[in-house]
Amino acid sequence: MDALAHDPVEDAAPGKARPPLDLELIDIRKRYGDFTAVDGVSLKVSKGQFVCLLGPSGCGKTTTLRCIAGLEEPDDGEILIGGKEATKDPPWQRDIAMMFQDFALFPHMTVAKQVGFGLEMLRRPKAEIARRVQHILKSFEIAVLADRKPASLSGGQRQRVALARAMITEPRILLLDEPIGALDYSLRETVMLELKLLQQRTGISFIWVTHDQNEAFSLGDLVVVMNHARIEQQGPPEEILQRPATAFVAGFVQGNNVFRGRVKELLAGALRIETPVGTFLVPRPLAAPPPMLGSEVSFSVRAEQITDAVFERHVNRLSAVCTAVEYFGAVRRHVFERSDGEVLKYDQFGAHAARIVPGLRLVLGWPAEAAVLHAGVGG
C-alpha cells in the first residue's frame, strides 16, 4: 500500500480516495523457450511519474516495456493500467502510447496524416482531428513539416513527429524504448530536457527504457535497475547512487568501488568484513537480521568518499598503486590497482591541483559511514 511519490494535493484532502496507480506490474514472467526474459518483475508507478528502466542489454527491460504495451503476452503475472486489469488486452485497447527506437514513422503518410492517425482510430470527427493536429504540431514546432513525408526529415524532426503522434491521443502512460539513441550526441541533451519538461507539464507517466545511466539518473523520478530478467533495485536516483543494494548495482553505476569478502565479526550496528585486500568496518542497518559469521557479503564505497589525506577517523585503509589519472573538468579521477588486481577509483574535486601521479603508491582511507553494505543477492 505504499505509493512511491506523494501527491500533496490529494493527501491534503482528508477522506479522499487515493488516486489509482497509473501502472502496476505484479510478478510478470516471460519465457522464450529455455530463455527467461522477465522473471518475477513487480512495479508500481504513481500518477504522473517518470520511470526509467535501466540495465545492460538482455536484462529484460525492453521485454518488460513490450509487455506493458501489450506487444508481448506475459506467461504469468498481471498488468493493471489505471487500476484496471489489462493483462489480456491487445495494444489497441490499452490506454498507452509508445515511442520506438527508430521512431517507426509510416513512410507513406505525411506528417499531418500520421500524427492524426491515433485520433482517426478513435473515430474523432475530421474537424477535431485537423484542429488538434495543428495544435500539437505548433507546440512541438514542426507545423511547417505538416505535408512532408518522413524520408525528407532529419533525425531530430522525426523524433518530434513520433512524439507528437504518440502524445496526441493523451494516453495515461507513454512508453519510450531508447528514444534518443538514434539522435546525434549534441541533440540528446536538448531533447532530454524537453522531454522532462513535457512530462511534468502533461502529467502523463513516462516509462523510459535505456542502458545509459546519465539519461536514467537525470530524467527519472524512479529508477529501476534490472539485470538478468530481475529488478535489482528500484528507487529515486540518489538512493541508487548513494546506497546501492547489490554488488551488481554498485558496479553498474558509475563511481563505486566494490569489495567482496566474508563476515569476520558482528558488532553493534556494524560488521567487520575480511577481504583479500584487508579487513574493513562497514555499518549495517539495525532493522535487518545480521548476516551469519563467515557468510559472503559485499559492500561499496563511492569514489569521492575516499581520501589520501588519511586521519584517525578514516578507520578503513588500504594501500594501492596509481595506474592512471583522468581529468573530466569537474572531477579528477585517479585509478588505482588494488593488491587483488581490482581497480579502485578515487575522485577529487577538479579545481584542486593535481598531486598524484601514476606509479605512486599511497595509503587511501575512508570513514566507516561511507561504506554501504549490500543486501540481497550479490552480483
Binding site: 489497441w92 502510447a97 509508445m98
Partner: protein, 289 residues
Amino acid sequence: MSTIRIRSPASYWLAVPAAAWMLGVVVVPIVLLVWVSFWGGRAFSMASPLTFDNYARFFANQTYLKLALSTIVHTATLMAVTGVLGYCIAYFLVMKVKSPGWRLALFLAFIVPFWTSTLIRAIAWVPFLGVNGVINQTLMYVGATQSPIEAFLYSRAGITMAQVSLYTMLAAGPVVYMLNAIAPQLREAAMTLKATPFVVFRRIVFPLTLPGVVIGQVLVFLNVMSDFATVATIGGNKHALLSNLVLLFYEGSQIRAASVVAVLLMLCMLVGVVVALRVVDIRRLGADR
C-alpha cells in the same frame, strides 16, 4: 574506385555486345513487324506500298474483335485470381510462418516448379481436366456428380485453372519482397495507436506493398497475354486468344494479318505496362488517401 572507371570508354564498350544483340534480335524485328503490318500489295517485299488496309480488314471482322475482347476479359480474370491468391500466399509465408526453416522449405516448394518447363506443366493439366480425368473421377467417386463434367477440358475454365497454377507465383513473388521490407515496428506502432489488426493491414501494410502488387500484376498480364501454348494444349482447337491468332495467320502464310495482330498485342501490352508504371510511381510518392 573500383575495377571499372566511371564513365570510361571501357564501360561503354563492355555494354556494346549485349546492346547490339538486343537491338538486333528484339528491337529491329519488332520495328519490322510494325512496318510489315502496313504493307499493301500482293508481293512480300520491302518495296510494298504502305496502307492501313490490313488494319481495316482486322477491325471489320467481328470474330476477331470478339476474340480481342475475350482475350482482355480472360487476362483480367487471371490477374484478379492470381492477385488475390498470390497475396494470401505471400502474406502467409512472410507474416505467419515463424520458423525460418519452414519458410525456406515452403518457398522452395513453390519456386522449384518454376525451374521446369511451363509447357510440361501445362500438358500435365490435360489428364486432370478431361472427361475421364482425375478431377471428374474424384468428383464421381465422392458422389458429387453423376456424369462427368465436360466443362473442364477444352474450355475457358480449364485454361484458367491451368494458368492459375502456372502464374500465381509471379503475382506472389514481388509481394513477398515488399512484405519482407516492412519493419515489424511499423505494425506495432500502429497497434499502439489504437489500430486493430485489420486496420493495420488496410492502412499500413497493404499500401506499403502496393508496388509489389502492381509489379506482380504486370508480370501476370504479360505472361497471360502472350501464352498461346496453354490455350492450345488445354483449349484444343476450340479456343483461341490473340496470341494463337498470330500463330494461325503465320501458319496460313498470312504474314501481314499476323503482324497486325502482333502489333495490336504489343500495343495492349505497352499500354498495360505504362499504366502500371504510372500507378507504381504515384504510389511511391503517393499519399495515404
